[in-house]
Symmetry: C2
Subunit: 413 residues, 2 copies
């Protein structure tokens, strides 16, 4: 697998655009991602009972297994808690996109279902449809496969994010390059079972929708579902993947070596985007990785890793650069996971070194100055080594800072 | 039921003391509560897998159903994650107390088990036993039933709390007054399934340990277990109740009218202390009550109320005095409870009035100025009315402020 210094533009047979439609005051707020030919599509959505209109809309498209030509995304307005008019608006977004792209009939264009729709932003406010519709037409005119368009697209889906998240990787199948590229957005309401995140992965691999959906389900459980910014699971979380086969490589069949190679690249792209989202977590001043090794089962390891990364007390301790192992062990204790607290080894590490805090569940005297030097760094790794089994898991999160309170205490006003 | 302007001193047949033993720099840090005669005892403890030594110790005493003469409490050090030496220290605290009180044999004094032990404070540091032991002896000398001693006792159990929590209520049984009084402490690591709280309720009612334990279990599920400050469940949470029968009233039998009367007073004391704990939540600038009515079952109502009160995004919105119903509905959506989002009515209220934010799941236009006037108050009530059934629940919490981050980012340093 080769990491490309690029984004969506690196994938064959796709065009994209990101423009300012006027939903936000000044920043880009509407994106289009279009495959030249029908693409196999897979999607995973929020498990929140309160689901935004585009989530309801997309779930039906994905469930029907229809090939997809385009994804249309607006930021600045979530089209959530907007009732039946909101659902109608999501459908109009799809139909307007289909019309603007002249998708024609036979691809489900007539009912708009060849287009997937995403919205992110403020909840409970009707979409300004005039702006959205004219924006879609404008974006359709600007579609291109240039690097600039890919950057515009990555930027247009952002909300409180402070930087764009994009990645492109290349694998070789049957001697030919196959590219997977993705973009994503955070950065609040980020928690288990899908973050308030939108994430779009496109590839020119040749893979059927069902296979792609299977890989997506597996991939999110160890990537997006292992990150947390604030413990809130959003109403709009959506990960969509499109595969258009434009690489002209053989069909990727389940259970083959090629499928494994593709899955590894697919997982890498998701993990990268998931980590970028927490790196850009609201108010984050630290990036925290939590590794659990030696757990009874993977489910236990995941519960432990997630519990640590979600604890407000652990997060504020890391913000305060305090090697407070008591809070870490406490968060493990209430996680609900099976483990023996009396055999836990706990370390904290960064580029400045590693320090042992607990050996066999008991505190180890450590040099506070060395601990502080380690914790002064931006990227912190907490590792808990158990003696309970062989399962492992990793979770990613960020600290809880004054800035988080500021952003969320003043978001709407 | 009559509310008394008093504390532990209002209950017949008990003495108490609170002193400075030197575990903390200057503040009181050691408390004794002693019944003149053996008392029936009940206890509920943290469900965290990492349990402090005194929790382990007390659980065994309560499980054995032994009558109890005293509770000894130190603040400033949690005696948690201290291994076998920690357990030995808890036992020494009990034995030292028994000896200082000259409890004699026959009451389990020989093995110290007639004394319950609690610790709260920093995790992972061995107790300074010399100071603890001399402190216990000093406190035993100062035992009294004066108002002043009761206040000292309420103060000596505090950690980051900014005010003491105490209450006393009187009911009449068989023509005679029976008093229930309690003290408690918060104020971080406060969450479901017992907060980092210590709470001690004493009464002169005549009730057996088994009946008292049954009432305690019921009571905490709708009081302490319905509060949250920060979502962290501590290693030391303990609620203890003693009943010494000094009121000379008839034995309270299960299922009788008198038992109901006692249970109501018991619940009232717990609910009061639970609410006081969140009022004094770390960094709290607002007190938030969340009421759910019309839920399918009480379990659903509780999940919904707890999910709202625990959401960092709801908490920061209230801190920012923002009527952000979207975050409230979102938190309900990921709670795991059964409910229909399309029939939710949502209001926010305070002493300045009430405002409807959602009707039948859809946003209602409201006057932002009126909303702000309501949210400027300290006590905020969020009410969600569902159309799904007849069950209700209430939870209590506080906002998430800069001060919370400050307190927990700088706690140890």
């Amino acid at each position: 697998m080769k990491l490309l210094d690029s984004g969506l533009n690196a994938v064959q047979g796709y065009k994209s655009a990101g423009i300012h439609a006027g939903i936000k005051k000044a920043k880009k707020d509407l994106a289009l991602i279009v495959s030249d030919i029908p693409a196999a599509a897979a999607g995973v959505f929020t498990i929140n009972k309160v689901q935004a209109a585009p989530v309801t809309y997309d779930k039906a498209v994905i469930a029907a297994g229809k090939p997809v030509r385009a994804i249309v995304v607006n930021s600045g307005n979530a089209n959530a808690c907007t009732g039946k008019p909101g659902l109608a608006d999501a459908e109009i977004m799809a139909k307007t996109t289909a019309a603007a792209l002249d998708l024609g009939l036979g691809l489900g264009a007539e009912d708009g279902s060849a287009v997937l729709v995403c919205s992110t932003g403020v909840i409970g406010v009707p979409l300004p449809m005039e702006k959205v519709e004219s924006g879609i037409k404008m974006a359709a005119q600007k579609l291109s496969s240039t690097r600039e368009s890919a950057i515009d697209t990555a930027e247009a889906i952002l909300t409180t994010d402070t930087f764009k998240k994009e990645i492109a990787v290349e694998i070789i199948i049957d001697g030919k390059p196959v590219v997977l590229a993705g973009i994503a957005k955070g950065s609040g309401m980020i928690h288990p079972n899908m973050a308030t995140l939108l994430s779009f992965i496109i590839t020119d691999a040749n893979i059927e929708a069902e296979t792609l959906q299977g890989l997506l389900g597996t991939s999110i459980s160890s990537t997006y579902n292992m990150i947390s910014v604030d413990g809130d699971t959003s109403t709009n979380d959506t990960v969509l993947a499109l595969a258009n086969g434009a690489s002209n490589t053989p069909l990727i069949e389940r259970g083959t070596e090629v499928a494994t190679k593709f899955a590894e690249a697919f997982d890498y792209v998701h993990a990268y985007l998931a980590k970028q989202i927490v790196r850009d977590g609201e108010g984050a001043s630290k990036f925290i990785e939590t590794k659990i090794v030696g757990a009874v089962q993977e489910a236990d390891a995941k519960l432990l890793a997630k519990s640590i990364i979600t604890s407000n007390l652990v997060k504020t301790a890391i913000f305060g650069e305090d090697a407070n192992w008591g809070r870490i062990l406490c968060a493990m204790g209430y996680s609900g996971a099976r483990f023996n607290p009396d055999t836990v080894d706990l370390t904290i590490a960064s580029s400045q070194g590693e320090i042992l805090l607990l050996r066999q569940g008991a505190p180890v005297p450590f040099d506070e100055e060395i601990a502080l030097a380690i914790l002064k760094e931006h990227d912190i790794v907490i590792t808990a080594t158990l003696q309970d089994g062989k399962a492992e898991a990793t979770a990613w999160g960020c600290d809880l800072s004054y800035e988080y309170v500021k952003i969320n205490g003043e978001y709407r006003t």
